[in-house]
Symmetry: C2
């Protein structure tokens, strides 16, 4: 394996040894985004260190910063060891999430395009350690990152010490897929010279400040690759509605069958949408998005997608194997960028993409809750949904109309948490249709949104809307005393219908 | 006055004659932003036409689009004639606001940087008429816009017919102050080549499609120039807290006394902040903002501000006269841009500005309501506050801690409408201090926010926060049954304290 290391070969140590550089109270920035490219060995070693300290009655926690979500062998083992005091900017680990919700760990959930900049600007204070997964170390002591770029640049810059994990599981052929473009620091920023998703404007490696590298650890472990569920009837119907909406845009002269640019959240519904696009009239599709998913790989294989720009992968085990085997082919059409670039408002607004993201609930006026069930219980986080929704050409939210066998409606009178405001939401799509809210005032929007709710909930929503309109003010009619009845019913009786 | 018109002299008609081009059901795009640069004669003529139609039992309403707010002789006369069916993207006229709130007119309140793009993309359908105020018509049949640029380019492009109002009240020396840069249409957009607030990248006039010009109307009427209140004790304390915050940023190495870039909302508190800057250590201040206010003119006169970029003026009568007298001097340091550029996320994020906007209420976690009192009653609109808050380097909201003699608290348990989410709000400033929320998780933020509430309300907010924490989920603790008690108390008893 030394052919992957070379330059720092004298710094190769065990994970346990490398973990000595991580101390209680440290701010630690790691690679990793949607379960790809996170460090595989150090987290367990830090967790062991925390457990040993706790066994002796000593404190040991870190503040952990990443690109986005990692995996059980990263956030999971650290949470299990109660080694995380504070986490940002995104998490999907169930154990750690429980700690946010029971109050034993803190979480700052922010837009993924903002996190790196706020680290650079010193809003969090100093960073002690950066732990970055790499495919290999170059002859000059730089690194080829692995299956995610995330906030690697910002953590490498901010940290006093750098630990590199070189992961043999990652294909050497990922080299050439990355496009590492570094924003100038304020006040010297220049325009980002990307005008099309396929533009390459940077290097294929990350330059390292060599004097800060303190350890290199060898690993051989897969990313967290979870299988997607096969599309069910509901997600297929949503996908069909989404594609019908796109075709309506073509008919209206606002979109072409050739070359449209998509962004897509991660999950089963988005994957169903991509499966739908496979059989659609759309050609030469481009993605300017956060994450490369199975569905995009299928679109590339079928010749329907010409380029996909993102910051990481979220692939099933089968597709991850395929990526590792054929990375030399996929790097012709896939680009992995730093997340400040993949999610940058400047580029998103310039290219003019159509965004599509999931949600927890939408209210009748189009406000969206992406994060907190019942207003208090964090699920994952807002991620990049705000970056894309705020700056996209057409922005959509897609969701099944109900969850938990109908006990939860995705459409409610008043969202219990707002991640996207009524000013930003253009289109809401469920299996019951498309609520196109563009150009409409609040009361007009309410009618459209109620129409795509589950039929069980439409009368309840209509009842609320009428009660609200019986009050005095009619711009955004509400009845604040009963606005949260759906959520209160669910908390008390396990069903939003009461 | 013909020296201002020339090219279209054969098209000069009365306002009444020009208004014949405006019909029931039309979409009409007008110039005007914060009471500057709106058409002065056509609105009254259209209102007369509407009244005459209504007297005959005929329908007559238009859908009206502007840059932002206009004035009593524009939105006001049209509202009085019940001539507006739908309005976007911003309004501050009290008569028209009443119609939104009593349900007789519709209002779509959207980010000011988004409105022009959505017109271009056809989200509203066709536009029949554009009515644009100009300082003069050039020899080639183009126009020099007046005291606001707003969405002029987009309405001129979209409309079938163009009516020009040439206003002799506006100084001919405004020519040279404008910087008209037009974004390419999707999918051919290029980077906006502005890297500093003072960069000029366009023309000093707006090119007109001459065949669409159907009428020219001569006017001689002032902009709506309202006097600002002299700073009172509360606004002076807020301003002092704001400047102390800035000095803390200098001490922390995140800001320099030389050359910082500000954005500021409009109003008495912002003007007090600018008065405070006049006596501060800050030098060579730049503004990349929406609106030029009295306070900025003072900073320019005092040699403290080197450049101010905006899309319009909001000046008191005294300052408006000064501007008209010395426009040839002010145009050296003031630039007026189209609002897609003054408010563009690309430029805002690139220059790295510190934003400062007012609010109606903030909740304990930092969500901000800028628009709807009690969740339903629209005041003005979100304006550009989202454009700047979402993309600024440091983003602040400033507000007195109470309104209506203490009956309303600016800090509440749960905002009744969300215009800026917890993910975006960095700093909240009242006369009681600075709540710096950067890098904090929700429960940590609540303590900071409650600390800047009015002392009368702190115990009530603390009580809510404790009740919320007695519930099960601790990420963003809430008690949905009592979350809106403040607003319900105010609606029922006229006091948030109940």
């Amino acid at each position: 394996m030394t052919e992957r290391i070379g330059y720092y070969k004298d710094l190769v140590v065990s994970a346990e040894e490398a973990a000595k550089h991580v101390n209680h109270g440290d701010r630690v920035g790691i690679s990793g985004f949607t379960g790809a490219g996170y460090p595989k060995a150090l987290p367990a070693a830090i967790a062991e260190k925390a457990k040993a300290a706790h066994a002796k009655g000593e404190e040991f926690t870190i503040d952990l910063f990443s690109g986005a979500s990692t995996a059980p062998d990263c956030d999971g083992v650290l949470a299990e060891a109660k080694a995380i005091r504070f986490r940002s900017p995104y998490n999907s680990d169930p154990l750690l999430r429980n700690q946010f919700n029971d109050g034993t760990a803190l979480y700052q959930d922010i837009h993924l395009s903002h996190s790196g900049q706020q680290v650079e600007e010193g809003f969090y204070g100093d960073f002690q350690v950066a732990i970055i997964e790499a495919v290999r170390i170059t002859e000059d002591g730089n690194i080829v990152p692995s299956s995610a770029v995330g906030n690697n640049l910002e953590y490498i810059d901010a940290a006093e010490k750098i630990i590199i994990e070189v992961n043999e599981w990652q294909s050497l052929n990922l080299e050439g897929m990355h496009d590492i473009y570094k924003l100038e620091k304020l006040p010297n920023r220049q325009p980002i010279p990307i005008t099309k998703p396929g533009d390459r404007v940077g290097t294929t490696f990350i330059e390292l400040p060599k004097e800060k590298v303190v350890a290199v650890v060898e690993t051989n472990a897969p990313d967290r690759n979870a299988a997607f569920k096969a599309p069910d009837e509901v997600s297929e119907k949503i996908a069909a509605n989404f594609i019908e909406f796109l075709e309506g845009e073509v008919a209206a002269g606002r979109l072409a069958y050739d070359g449209f640019i998509m962004q897509s959240g991660v999950g089963n519904v988005p994957n169903a949408v991509m499966a739908g696009l496979l059989d659609s009239k759309f050609e030469n599709i481009q993605a300017y998005t956060e994450v490369i998913q199975d569905g995009m790989v299928d679109l590339i294989d079928a010749g329907k997608m010409t380029v996909a720009s993102a910051t990481s992968f979220a692939l099933s085990p089968e597709y991850a194997d395929r990526m590792n085997e054929k990375a030399d082919k996929y790097r012709e059409s896939i680009i992995l960028r730093p997340q400040q670039i993949s999610n940058h408002p400047e580029v998103i607004r310039r290219v003019g993409l159509i965004s599509s993201n999931g949600m927890i609930e939408a209210d009748i006026y189009g406000n969206i809750n992406s994060t907190n069930v019942g207003g208090s219980r964090i699920m994952n986080g807002t991620g990049g949904s705000g970056d894309f929704t705020r700056n996209g050409y057409i922005t959509t939210f897609v969701s099944p109309s109900v969850a938990k066998d109908g006990a939860i409606s995705a459409i409610v009178p008043f969202v219990s948490h707002t991640d996207h405001t009524e000013h930003d939401t253009m289109v809401i799509i469920t299996e019951y249709g498309v609520a196109d809210l563009r150009g409409l005032a609040p009361r007009e929007r309410a009618e459209k949104v109620i129409a795509v709710a589950h039929p069980d909930y439409r009368p309840l929503l209509q009842e609320y809307f009428e009660r609200a309109q019986a009050n005095k003010f009619q711009h955004t009619p509400h009845d604040l005393k009963t606005a949260f009845d759906f959520q209160v019913n669910f908390a008390e009786k396990g069903d939003m219908r009461g």
